[in-house]
Each structure stands twice: as C-alpha cells, then as structure tokens.
C-alpha cells in the first residue's frame, strides 16, 4: 500500500521542530549544530517526498545541493567551535559575549 505524501510532510515537520527545539533549548554548541543538521534533513525529506509525488527530478537535485551546503556549514561551524572553545574548559554558548555592547 502506498504511503500518502502528507505522512512524509508531517514527519518532516516533526523532525524540523525537534531540531528547532535542540537549537533553542540546548546551550552546547555541538548539540545546537546537530539540531541544525536535523533541520537540513527534514527539508531533504520534504524535497524527496515531493519529488516522488510529482515524479520530478528537481527535488532530488535540490536535496543534493542541500546536502552539499550542509556539509560546508558543518565544517565551518565546527571550525568556529574549535577556535572559540579550544582553551575554555566549560563549553557554553552563552559565555561567548565578547561582541556584546
């Protein structure tokens, strides 16, 4: 039996909101980045579900581009985390307030 498109989109929304919760609630920069990765994946699932529903390749190509950008984002985000928290024992994004006015 074929699964309806709405099921996939609902699942995608649930994953997205879990990722948002991770970014908003947690103060560990690594887990915040993982929440962002969850959000990328929710978008990818929606793209691929719609590609299947419309039998179009465009969704696949855009999901591919999203994966590329997600890889670049993870690399740069982790580099920033490393340089900011390299000498700090206690890792908490709220402690990074150098630019605060």
């Amino acid at each position: 039996m074929e699964v309806a498109l709405a099921n996939y989109i609902g699942l995608s929304a649930v994953i997205f909101m879990i990722g948002v919760t991770g970014v908003v609630a947690r103060r560990n920069p690594l887990i915040m980045l993982m929440g962002i990765e969850l959000m990328w994946n929710a978008a990818n699932l929606a793209f691929i579900a719609y590609a299947k529903a419309y039998m179009s390749n465009a969704g696949h190509v855009f999901a591919f581009l999203v994966i590329t950008v997600a890889a670049a984002e993870a690399a740069i985000g982790l580099a920033i985390i490393v340089i900011v928290f390299r000498r700090v024992e206690h890792v908490d994004v709220d402690d990074v307030a150098v630019l605060k006015g």
Partner: protein
C-alpha cells in the same frame, strides 16, 4: 506502509534522543541512527543516489567530523558538557505541542490537496535503468544537463568553505621558522665582517 511507520518511529525517537542526550557523544550516535533510517526512507521513495549520498556524506563525513571535534575539545579537560542545560521545564511540552501541531497541520493541508496528475512514468524497480524515475542514471542526466549551473555553484560553495575553514582554524599567527639566508645576504655579511 509498515516500513514507513517503523522508520518514522525510529527517526522521531532518535531525533528526540539527539536533542535530549546528556553528552554530545550520545547525540552523535542518535544522529547516526537518524541518518541511516532516513537513508532507508529515501530508498523507499526511490531516491537511490540520495540514499547512498546520505550514508556517505552525513554518516560518513559529517558525523566523523563531529566525533573529531568532541575528542579534540574534551581532551585534557574534565567531562565535556556537564554544564547547565537551561532547558526550561515549560519548554518540553511546548515544543512537543509545536512539533505535533505543525506536523498535523501540514498533514491535513496536504492531505486535502493532492498533487496534480502525475506523468505516466513508473518508479525505479532496479538500479541502472536510464530514464526511469529515481535511478542513478536519471539523476545524473538531470544533474549534468538541466541543473548544470547549480551543480557548478556547489563547487564554488565548497571551495569557499575550504578556504574559510583554513582561515579560521589554521594557526595564521604562529611564529614562523626563520628563513634561510640567501647566498647574496651571506656574501654581504661576509664582506661587511671582513671590512670591519
């Protein structure tokens, strides 16, 4: 049908585990389960190439990067991420409500408006069928003809990312080893010393 619900339960459970795990290493393991289940779901949606890419890029590259950073940051210092979590008690039910509400809303909206009539193509049944929706050949054909410019743009994005990471993490201000003197400089010093 049963595959979808099994995978959906696994995906949601592992995603919740990712954002609620006490230590980042546990989160990475939860994220691994999440990505692998999503890859299987992509296969059921006949996106073969993306399922492979999901495993290779996400589970292979990005998660290993996360593990490296965790190992790098927690080396030598006390247990990483024991600090305050600042997850307000009220936020947990609110976020559950928001997730289910948004998911249910989208479900209802999309359920009531089915997609337009589909072209009469069949889903891929076996790999390697050119022209069959979702096959690798079909995806590659689209990527290198219709979407060639976005594909080239990703190369640009990755290049900028590489340069950015090197500029950020590379130790630019480190003292450099003294450069070797050129023959001309040594000759000049020798002449100056002899002259004095």
């Amino acid at each position: 049908m049963i595959t979808f619900w099994l995978l959906a339960v696994l995906i949601v459970a592992s995603a919740v585990f990712v954002v609620s795990a006490p230590r980042p290493v546990y989160s990475v393991v939860g994220l691994l389960v999440n990505f692998l289940c999503l890859a299987i779901m992509y296969l059921t949606l006949s996106a073969e190439f993306l399922a492979v890419i999901q495993v290779v890029v996400y589970s292979g590259a990005i998660l290993v990067l996360f593990l490296f950073v965790i190992a790098l940051l927690s080396s030598g210092v006390r247990a990483f991420s024991v600090g305050p979590n600042r997850l307000p008690r009220i936020l947990a039910p609110v976020s559950v409500f928001a997730a289910l509400g948004l998911g249910g809303l989208l479900f209802v909206i999309i359920e009531s408006t089915p997609p337009a009539a589909q072209p009469a193509t069949t889903a891929a049944t076996a790999a390697g069928n050119a022209g069959v929706f979702g096959s690798v050949a079909d995806f590659g054909q689209a990527l290198f003809t219709t979407y060639l410019l976005p594909f080239e743009a990703t190369a640009f994005v990755l290049m900028i990312a590489v340069i950015g990471v090197i500029a950020l993490a590379g130790d630019v201000d480190a003292p450099r080893p003294p450069r070797r003197k050129t023959l001309r400089q040594r000759e000049r010093e020798r002449i100056l010393k002899e002259g004095s």
